[in-house]
């Protein structure tokens, strides 16, 4: 569902560009709103969420899709934790559909999906591994790396049970915006994938903007 935001970047309290292949980690406070902006279009922002006060509570793709009865995320979607608490709600979305089934790219899954020779190409999970290693204060480790949201990615499920990877439906300037219902660690990898049409084989920067 397309829903535009009334917020303007001028009134934001935080802005940061995240280059493809980099990670972003920060606590978004309860009540704050944050936006991920697809600057050039067709990018994938692989994102995980944790309760900042108890990171064992984290975004759960399966609880979220089961409770909303739909596999796609868009405006109105409540992002649930593994404790079935609302962590965030998507309050604006100019893309219309986001994936939470496809997971993140990893060097190991790249060997299966593309070729064993591609095992050392940069991948989202490597960005997350570096993020947890460089930011020990969050208390995260590989154990915490679970099933993420792929903002701006288009992974349709077919009626007969297929899963297809389509060209992105996002474009330059499209965004998704969430309001936090609890203090939430946002761990984002701006996807470096060079083997997949989801980002048009062309990884580009995204921007994170926070209000409140």
């Amino acid at each position: 569902m397309i829903k535009e935001s009334k917020l303007h970047a001028d009134s934001s309290v935080f802005r940061q560009q995240v280059l493809a292949g980099d990670y972003f980690i920060k606590v978004v406070k309860k009540g704050q709103t944050f936006r991920i902006l697809d600057i050039e279009g067709n990018q994938a922002a692989d994102t995980l969420f944790y309760n900042a006060n108890d990171p064992a509570e984290r975004y759960s793709a399966m609880d979220t899709i089961r409770e909303q009865g739909n596999v796609y995320l868009t405006a109105g979607s409540k992002l649930l934790s593994n404790e079935n608490n609302v962590m965030l709600e998507i309050v604006a979305d100019t893309c219309g559909r986001h994936d939470t089934l496809g997971g993140a790219c990893a060097t190991e899954s790249n060997t299966v999906r593309y070729a064993l020779e591609k095992k050392c190409m940069h991948a989202c999970r490597d960005s997350w591994m570096l993020a947890v290693a460089e930011n020990e204060e969050y208390g995260l480790s590989k154990r915490d790396i679970t099933h993420n949201i792929n903002f701006f990615m288009n992974v349709p499920v077919t009626k007969d049970g297929g899963l297809t990877f389509e060209d992105g439906i996002s474009g330059s300037g499209k965004y998704v915006e969430m309001k936090a219902s609890m203090d939430t660690i946002v761990l984002l990898s701006n996807c470096p994938q060079l083997n997949n049409p989801c980002n048009g084989y062309n990884p580009t920067p995204v921007e994170v903007i926070i209000w409140g």
């Binding site: 596999v71 089934l101 997971g103 060997t111 299966v112 070729a115 999970r125 297809t164």
Partner: protein
């Protein structure tokens, strides 16, 4: 899909037993062995998770399993992947045709809301156990916790998705006598429960037992159905081959 390879699980049955409804258990399956599950009455659900007993951080990864094989449903030919690009097991037989891996578990609250709370004190073995607590118990036996609980399989259960993405629970997906057989391609810690599917609309808590057999498997040949089901699976099997370069049989 009751086709050609009904003989795939014709090997010696090493052990067999049943899980009553709402039970949980764990098994270490050895490379080359087969776990065959049978829905004895129809309408069963088996929640399942996999871990590498040598490195418990390596676990079943539903998104990788789905995207590597461009599938939403799981059936014969599909391999079930770890987050490390390896195959825990292959579905070598399946008379059901569709197993799902995205809906998670019943929780204490879901069971209470759908079917009412039946605690142990009052109901003893007839209590309404839930899938989430079941997995927590089995995980804790290996030093694991809720951080380690990945998206699980729901064997014998299916959900379909329409063009708008809406999920629909498929009723009567599994009939009495339906079975699915998993051939393990590496040593694997298997956690399982027989609690109902969280979207099962039944008026009463479904009490459905499951039979399981551990069977001595046949060697994987070059023309193996699962390995050749997709090019991705050939590469997954190659990753397992690399993992087992030291001989692979004697890790403990």
């Amino acid at each position: 899909m009751t086709t050609a390879s009904l003989t795939a699980t014709a090997g010696t049955v090493l052990y067999e037993d049943s899980l009553a409804s709402g039970c949980h258990w764990s098994i270490i399956m050895r490379k080359g062995s087969v776990l065959k599950l049978t829905d004895t009455e129809g309408g069963a659900n088996v929640g399942m998770l996999f871990y590498n007993p040598q490195n418990l951080l390596e676990r079943y990864n539903a998104p990788d399993t789905l995207k590597c094989q461009h599938t939403f449903k799981l059936t014969k030919g599909n391999c079930l992947y770890s987050d490390m690009g390896r195959i825990f097991c292959s579905i070598i037989e399946d008379s059901v045709g569709w197993h799902e891996t995205v809906c998670g578990n019943t929780t204490k609250q879901i069971v209470k809301d759908k079917w009412g709370e039946k605690n142990y004190q009052d109901y003893r073995n007839d209590w309404n156990q839930n899938g989430y607590s079941s997995f927590l118990v089995e995980l804790a036996k290996y030093g694991l916790g809720k951080k380690d609980m990945a998206a699980n399989l729901n064997l014998f259960s299916a959900v379909s998705v329409n063009d708008d993405g809406a999920l629909q629970y498929v009723e009567n997906n599994s009939k009495a006598g339906d079975s699915v057989a998993l051939r393990f391609e590496m040593d694997t810690l298997v956690l399982l429960h027989s609690c109902p599917h969280p979207l099962n609309p039944a008026a009463e808590y479904p009490k459905k037992p499951v039979r399981y057999q551990i069977i001595k498997g046949e060697p994987v040949e070059a023309n193996d159905f699962c390995m050749n089901f997709r090019a991705e699976n050939q590469r997954g099997f190659k990753n397992n081959e690399i993992f087992h370069l030291d001989g692979g049989c004697c890790h403990d």
